[in-house]
Symmetry: C2
Subunit: 205 residues, 2 copies
C-alpha cells in the first residue's frame, strides 16, 4: 500500500489524493502540518531532505518527492499518462509550466490572501503575484480554446496538476469569470470518473 | 533535424545544447535575445504562448516547450534517461526540484548580480535568493555524499538539468567551495563523453 505524507489544504498534496482516487489505488494518508514546521524536523528531513510535502512512500518503503514526479510515477501504465512519446512530453511540459509559471503565483497569492493577516508585510507581494498569475491563466485560456483537456483530448496528469491550484484561484483574488475556457475545463475535470473534491480549501488565521 | 530557439547565455537553453551534443543529434540553433523582448513578439508567441526559450521544434514542425520536458523527450530511449520506472520518476523528481527550489534562486541571483546595474532596486532581492539557493545546494550536497550522480550511479538528464545553473552559481555570489561533493560532481559531469562547456556565461550591462 502507498503512504502519502501530505497536508489536505495544499494543492500540491491534493493532486496526489485526486490521482490515487481516480486510479482506485489504496493508500493511507498521514497529515503533516507544514505550516507548523512538521516538514522541517529531523524525522521528516530523513525522509525528504528538501523538507516538503507531499511525499510518497512506496510499498517497498522507498520515498519519492515532488508532486508532479509522483503523478507521473503513479499514472504510468494507466490512461491518465499518455503512452505516445510526444504526448507524454507534452504532459510534462504542462507540469513544468505549472511548477514554474503558475503555482509560484497562484498558490502563493492564495496563501498570502487566505492564510496571512491583512496587515502582514507579504500582502504587498500580491499585485506582482496577480500579474504573473493572470499571465499563466491567459496561456491556459488560449490553449483550451481548441481543446477539451491540456494534452490533446484526453484527461490526464497534466489536468490534475493544473486543476489543483486553478480551482482555488479565486481565493487568491483571481477572477476566473474572465476565462470561460478555463471555467468549462474545470467543470469537465469535476465530471471525470471517481473525481473527488479537495476537502480542505481554506484555513483560519 | 531539430531546431532550438535559445539564448546561449541561458542555463535552461544550455541544457538542451549539452544533451543534443551528448546524444550526437544534429540540430540548428536560432539565437533569440530574450532580454531584448524577442520571446514576447507575435511571431514567437505563436510558437510558444508562454513566451520563453528554450523552445524545441521537432523534425515534424511541432513545438515543445519547457527545458526539462525537452530533456525528457530527447533522451527517451538513450542511456541518459533511466529505463526503470522508479529511476525515471527520480530523474523527474530532481528536474522538478531544479525548476522549483533551485533555478528561481540560483539563476535569478546570477541574473541580478551579473546582468543588472549595481544600483538596480532588484539587488535587494539577493540576500533572500542566496538563502534559498544555499538551501538547494545543501540538499544536493547531502544527496551526493553517497552517490556519483543524482539518480543512482548513472549520469543522465537530472545531472544535465542541475549542472546548467550550478556550474555558474559563483556568478550569483554562491561560494561552491563549501560544497565539496558538488564540486566533485561538477567535475564528473565535465568528464562525461561529448561534454561541451557553456560558451556564453556572462553578459555586460
Amino acid at each position: 500500500m502507498y503512504t502519502v505524507y501530505g497536508m489536505k489544504a495544499s494543492g500540491n498534496c491534493y493532486k496526489i489524493e485526486l490521482l490515487l482516487e481516480q486510479l482506485g489505488l489504496s493508500y493511507r494518508w498521514i497529515e503533516v502540518n507544514s505550516a507548523a514546521g512538521e516538514t522541517r524536523n529531523a524525522e521528516f528531513l530523513a525522509m525528504n531532505a528538501n523538507g516538503k510535502v507531499p511525499l510518497l512512500q512506496l510499498p517497498t518503503g522507498e520515498f519519492l518527492a515532488e508532486s508532479n514526479a509522483m503523478l507521473f510515477y503513479l499514472a504510468e501504465g494507466s490512461d491518465l499518462l499518455p503512452r505516445d512519446r510526444l504526448e507524454r512530453a507534452r504532459a510534462l511540459q504542462w507540469m513544468f509550466f505549472e511548477q514554474y509559471s503558475h503555482e509560484p503565483y497562484i498558490a502563493v497569492a492564495r496563501f498570502i490572501a487566505g492564510w496571512l493577516p491583512a496587515d502582514h508585510p507579504r500582502q504587498q507581494e500580491l499585485p506582482r503575484l496577480r500579474e504573473r498569475g493572470y499571465a499563466a491563466l491567459e496561456v491556459m485560456e488560449k490553449h483550451l480554446d481548441s481543446r477539451e483537456y491540456l494534452v490533446d483530448s484526453a484527461y490526464g496528469v497534466a489536468d490534475i496538476a493544473l486543476f489543483a491550484y486553478t480551482h482555488t484561484a479565486t481565493a487568491g483574488g483571481f477572477d476566473l469569470q474572465r476565462f470561460p475556457n478555463i471555467v468549462a475545463w474545470l467543470q469537465r475535470v469535476r465530471a471525470t470518473p471517481r473525481f473527488v473534491a479537495q476537502t480542505v480549501v481554506t484555513q483560519s488565521h
